[in-house]
């Protein structure tokens, strides 16, 4: 981690090191959310998800979100990491986490990180079904 945040777009997310990354002598609480590929979406079997991104902009937006959260909740460390490419069932696609003195701050910040990432960061997800593929959220 460079400074107090690690912001990355990667091919594969390694969930095993995130608590070590967010560890800090000033932090009593660390909250981490992982988003993974579910087998079924509205009763339809999903074979895989495919993610693409506008990388330079995505990294900028992720950094803005991290800075907003650090300021609002006085966080000690933040991780925002998203995967791209084809992801199969159970594979992690996103990991966000925050560490802070007390647990209220890291829970609220972690929720903010994932909610805001989903709203603003230019990443697109295509759901691959047996007989079709769909860009998620594209149409009302």
């Amino acid at each position: 981690m460079k400074g107090n945040m690690s912001i990355e777009i990667v091919d594969v997310i390694d969930t095993s090191r995130v608590f070590a990354e967010l560890s800090d002598p000033r932090s009593g609480g660390i909250c981490v959310f992982v988003g993974a590929v579910r087998e079924f979406t509205e009763n339809e079997e999903v074979l895989s998800l495919e993610f693409e991104t506008y990388k330079v902009m995505a990294l900028k937006e992720m950094k803005k979100i991290a800075l907003e959260a650090i300021e609002k909740w006085k966080l000690n460390k933040v991780v925002i990491r998203h995967a791209v490419g084809v992801k199969n069932v159970e594979e992690p696609v996103v990991i966000v986490g925050a560490s802070s003195a007390h647990r209220d701050a890291c829970f609220n910040a972690c929720r903010y990180l994932i909610d805001t990432l989903k709203e603003r960061v230019p990443i697109w997800k295509k759901e691959m079904f047996t007989n079709k593929s769909v860009w998620v959220s594209a149409h009302p």
Binding site: F51, E52, T53, V94, K118, I123, W124
Partner: protein, 80 residues
């Protein structure tokens, strides 16, 4: 002026970027770019939302476009 395309925008246009050629007038603003896109590709009008990024930051409808800007069409995002 080159315009980058992602997600469903790439599928609608059929390529990852396009350019307004020298002999046609490039759109002067974000809203003009959106209007011309919807004119050429009516599918853009059916999306949940349509945003434009200028130099890798979200732009407002009234923002001006310059030939040297990095411009990107941002269809509804769906990360996470």
């Amino acid at each position: 002026m080159e315009v980058l395309l992602f997600g469903i925008a790439k599928d609608i246009v059929g390529k990852g970027s396009f350019r307004f050629s020298a002999d046609e007038q490039a759109p002067a603003s974000v809203s003009e770019l959106k209007d011309r896109l919807k004119g050429s590709f009516p599918e853009f009008g059916k999306l949940t939302s349509l945003a434009v990024a200028v130099n890798s930051a979200y732009a407002e409808d009234g923002d001006r476009l310059n030939e040297s800007d990095e411009i990107a069409i941002i269809p509804p995002v769906s990360g996470g």
